[in-house]
Amino acid sequence: MMIELNNIRKIYSLGKIQVEALKGISLKINKGEYVAIVGPSGSGKSTLMNIIGLLDKPTSGSYKLNDIEVSTLNDNQLAYLRNRQIGFVFQSFNLLSKLNALANVELPMLYAKIPSKERRQRALRALEIVGLSERIHHKPNELSGGQQQRVAIARAIVMNPSFLLADEPTGNLDTASSIEIMKIFYQLNESGTTIVMVTHEQDIANHTKRIVRLRDGNIIEDTIVPNRIIY
């Protein structure tokens, strides 16, 4: 099992008030799956995403990533796993504005101490996969939103992670660009990449194979998408 969450609870203390964002989430995601986590704001989906993405630790419960318990690891170990196992795609792209597309894609490999020649080759290959070979020397502000998100996807896949974790990846994009991104996700998933996507848009969720619906910190629905959109 790639991702195995068992009775995950997350409690935030805001002064004297305690807020229970996740009330015992259990979820299994296999290799090759394409899962959408949906729910209204305040449902806990961001908290769940942070925990799955190893950016946050659960208050209690168990999280096994590739059969290794990760809920008790320290910051350095988590950084290592984020680097090797998880590819992040954010709503606001989160590219470094001073670096060009190529350098942005090379960044995770810098922290993995991959030699510069190999870094370049792999970054070029990743940019080719997302269809941006032409604009590798452009800085983020010289690229359209869709293009920026494609750079971010290239950055996410360049370390060959266990899964992509996308947080509202089309949230800042127009319809045409959104479709582009969904096409890339489709192709990546078809070639074996596991994708976990947080979204609140139903039609974006309909691109995935499985929808996990949250409300008030609980999973209220976990279904196979009957008529998913494919390209």
Partner: protein
Amino acid sequence: MHILEAIKLAIDSILSNKLRAFLTMLGIIIGIASVITIVSLGTGGQKAILGEFEKIGVNVFSIKTRNDVEIRDSDRLAIRDVEMIRKRLSSVKYAAPIAEKMGLAKTDKYTKRALFIATDFDYGNVSNLKVIYGRFLNEKDILIGRNVVLIDKDSAKELFGYEDCVGKTIKIGSYSSFDTAEIIGVIDSGNLKSLGGSIADQIPVIAAIPITYAQKIFPDVNISQIYVMTYDQNQLDETSSQALRLIESLHHNKDKYKTENLIRFLEEFNRILGIFTAVIGAIAGISLLVGGIGIMNIMLVSVTERTREIGIRKAIGARQRDILTQFLIEAVTISLIGGAIGIFLGYILANIVGPFIDITPVFSINTILIAFLFSTAVGIFFGIYPAQKAAKLDPIVALRYE
């Protein structure tokens, strides 16, 4: 992340904010530049003064009659005193009497004022006198009071038109009577006369003559002091008191003489130098402190500005240590560049100021290394807090930061 990558990142970051980086460096630049300027000029001055001491010799002392007591004729220093010092005191290497007398030097064409230094064959050894043509006085010259003279090379040129006038004769004496002496040597006159102009005309002929000859032609000549050189600097104090006692016993008197040596001056000089160094150190410390605070301030601003960047880097796998290194290296790079500019500026400044105060600045590798070391230390010391702040940012919070 490799150090080299981090350095490249730091330089990129500095270049993307040139004016701000420069203003941040200014404190360090001014601090290091002033230290380099003052230290190089100080070292230059010290070297020049020590060089003078070295020339004269630090294991030399002089014996004089005291000028605060009554001196009778029988108390006056005599050639015999010099001979006895040489003979009786085993630690004495050389000893020479010195009598100075103003008079005139004449050739067929010119008459010039002259300062006669009446001494003996050891004088060349106890002073920094350099014979450039001919020879110095020898034992026989002293023994028979031979009518020989050495003159300085500038005077030689003025009187004869050329420097090497060995073998020529010159008339020397006071205003009423003159004696003919043979020039046996020409001595270096140092740089006194290179000043030129009217000052050069004021400077008399410097002429060394045998003390015994001086006693023949100047009836009133008196030995003003005896220069004594010991074999070793450590023997200086003991030999001085031995020489004093010896001369007192020869003249059957007490407390009429005093000895002086350069060690005392040297010690005083070093003491002043120590104070000077401490003051510079304090100034340097304060300016580097101010510079360091500037760096810390701007690094804190930079961490806040780049919170989101830090969040992104952490999300994609940067460890705390990577972020810490990145910001620390940035701080150190700023202070090192500031230090380098400061060293360069100090070098230029010292070379501009040096000629005005007649000091050749000395730049030692040590000074430059210490300047670099200090810059690095300032960068680390004032960079560590902002860097730690950056490293400890929570990635979730950092990613949300607008």
